[in-house]
């Protein structure tokens, strides 16, 4: 039985050194000059704007990716068409792409000077790169697969019988979707939404490339953390990090509430 304690000690020790102690230290560092200093660091206009911009990213990217995710999952699981397997494989692609490459890719298409379609948009007065639309696109790209990946197994699990039963009872395709399919997959969708939100809140690399990093303009919360840290405003960096870390903990909590329901449904 000694080996049991050795294994436990080794596993928990590794987790403490890699995860536990550093996370606690961030909280300690943020409040080393008192709660007041931390609070004023994250309530400056720049900080407020950064958090606001992050919220905008989430508010646009999450609903769009959720709709896409449900539609794509339905297409992959329920429809038979050529290229279905390809779509299924391509959906995962964003997981295999470095955030910096995502930024670069968007730059090459939507860039104002040499992008494929960027100059056309610029002529029509729409700036995508170094502006909010580009950052939204970057956020959408990196958080694209989560809802699809969560919904596909749930759709497979519930099967088609409930949908067929609804059809024989007179429900049209839309009625069947909203009254039967969607309620049946709701926890899967919710779990996907939580993961999408977490990723959208935290995206750094892709947004960093396409943002131009104009403080108070195109600076999201994660970029704000970097900016403060580079300028030796450690309290500001740690305080903003704590806000983001708290959001991450809320995410974890949501995941823990939703996961069992998903398994049960």
């Amino acid at each position: 039985m000694r080996s049991k304690y050795a294994l436990r000690f080794l596993a928990l020790g590794y987790l403490a050194l890699l995860l536990g102690i550093p996370v606690v230290l961030v909280f300690v560092n943020a409040f080393q000059d008192g709660i007041g200093a931390a609070w004023s660091a994250v309530s400056t206009p720049e900080a407020q704007h950064a958090f606001f911009l992050t919220l905008v990213m989430v508010a646009v990217a999450v609903p769009l990716n959720t709709i896409f995710g449900v539609v794509a999952a339905l297409a992959i699981v329920r429809q038979r068409f050529r290229g279905r397997a390809l779509l299924n494989a391509l959906v995962d692609l964003p997981f295999a792409v470095s955030p910096v490459v995502v930024g670069l890719a968007l730059l090459l298409v939507y860039g104002r000077r040499d992008g494929w379609v960027g100059p056309w948009f610029a002529e029509h007065g729409v700036q995508i790169i170094f502006s909010t639309p580009g950052m939204i696109l970057a956020t959408m790209f990196v958080s694209l697969p989560f809802v699809v990946r969560e919904v596909i197994p749930v759709l497979r699990e519930i099967g088609t019988e409930q949908e067929q039963a609804a059809a024989t009872l007179g429900a049209g395709p839309l009625q069947t979707f909203f009254r039967v399919t969607l309620p049946a997959i709701r926890w899967g969708v919710a779990y996907g939404v939580v993961l999408t939100t977490a990723r959208a809140l935290g995206e750094f690399g892709a947004v960093s490339v396409v943002s131009g990093k104009l403080s108070g303009q195109t600076e999201t919360a994660t970029l704000f953390v970097e900016n403060r840290f580079q300028r030796f405003d450690e309290t500001g960096a740690y305080a903003a990090s704590v806000v983001l870390a708290l959001l991450a903990l809320v995410t974890l909590l949501a995941m823990n509430v939703i996961k069992p329901k998903e398994a049960q449904a």
Partner: protein
């Protein structure tokens, strides 16, 4: 309402599920589609419901061609083997589903749901969720849900297949009684010949995508059209190159015209019924079903030599 299926074929890739099948189901009847799995019976039922579209042929319900009508507008009730309960809705909401879709007034829906839950003996379960019901209860809920919209025909796909033996027996008797009360044209799929014989007025035997025979349980048992129907419905044994019901064989203690010599291998007492297992002269084995009284009268014992003969006017089909 009557159902007429005319020359329907359906293939899934290389597999022919239905091959030029024609069938008539009378208004108000209770029909079983019986056959081994993969025989095409479920596909036929799903074609009638509109859940599958036939490659060729037509389906008419109540005299109207329904071949291209989507399931939503066929007004059929369909009951699935695994209930297809809407898990996120209460029993009452499940039963009300079809009426809600049809935007009926709420008090009418409530009244109808009440009535149906009484009919299927689920009154008092209205506010439960399907996960809080037993398998038999879920299937009764599914039946009530299908009946709520007053369908022209009721279709059941292996309705009792997922239930345990006791519940199954109860529900069979109950379905029979329900049909007597509601009189809706009913077609159900089963692979269990006993279930088909017990419940149905008319049995359709399907095998390899085609219909082998249509008839009443009595007709099928007493004059099977072929070897397949004979062996699928009721027990068979082989005697002198013919299939014969094991209870249509007489055991004689003396040789007689047309009787075959056999040696008793084993006598199995199953209560009222006695099974006698024998070896024939050519090395084949067979078995005969007699009553306890007959066995006592004949005073049979293991290892004895007896003579077997078909009794008068037996049910038989030539061995193919």
């Amino acid at each position: 309402m009557s159902i007429v299926v005319d020359s329907v074929s359906k293939r899934f890739g290389d597999f022919t599920a239905l091959d030029d099948v024609s069938l008539e189901v009378r208004d108000g009847s209770l029909t079983a589609l019986l056959g081994p799995s993969g025989g095409g019976k479920s596909t036929l039922l799903r074609v009638i419901a509109g859940l599958e579209t036939p490659d060729s042929g037509t389906v008419s319900i109540a005299g109207e061609d329904a071949t291209r009508t989507p399931p939503q507008r066929r007004n059929v009730g369909f009951v699935f083997q695994h209930y297809a309960a809407f898990k996120h809705m209460t029993v009452a909401k499940n039963v009300a589903f079809g009426l809600t879709i049809r935007k009926r007034p709420q008090d009418e829906i409530d009244a109808r749901v009440d009535e149906l839950l009484k009919l299927v003996h689920l009154d008092g379960f209205a506010q439960r969720y399907p996960s809080q019901l037993s398998g038999g209860q879920r299937q009764r809920m599914a039946l009530a849900r299908a009946l709520a919209v007053q369908p022209r025909v009721l279709l059941l796909d292996e309705p009792f297949g997922a239930l345990d033996a006791t519940v199954r027996k109860e529900l069979r008797a109950w379905l029979r009684r329900l049909h007597d009360e509601v009189h809706v044209t009913t077609v159900f799929v089963t692979h269990d010949q006993e279930e088909a014989m017990e419940v149905a007025e008319q049995i359709v035997v399907l095998n390899k995508g085609g219909i082998e025979q249509v008839g009443s349980p009595k007709e099928l048992y007493e004059s099977p059209a072929n070897e397949f129907v004979m062996s699928f419905i009721g027990p068979v044994s082989e005697l002198s190159g013919r299939w014969i019901r094991p209870h249509d064989v007489d055991i004689l203690r003396e040789p007689a015209d047309g009787a075959a010599e056999a040696m008793i291998d084993r006598i199995v007492h199953l209560g009222f019924e006695v099974r006698v297992e024998l070896s024939l002269g050519d090395g084949d084995t067979t078995w005969v079903q007699i009553t306890k009284a007959q066995a006592q009268e004949l005073e049979l014992a293991d290892g004895e030599i007896v003579w077997l003969r078909a009794s008068t006017a037996p049910t038989a089909a030539a061995v193919g």
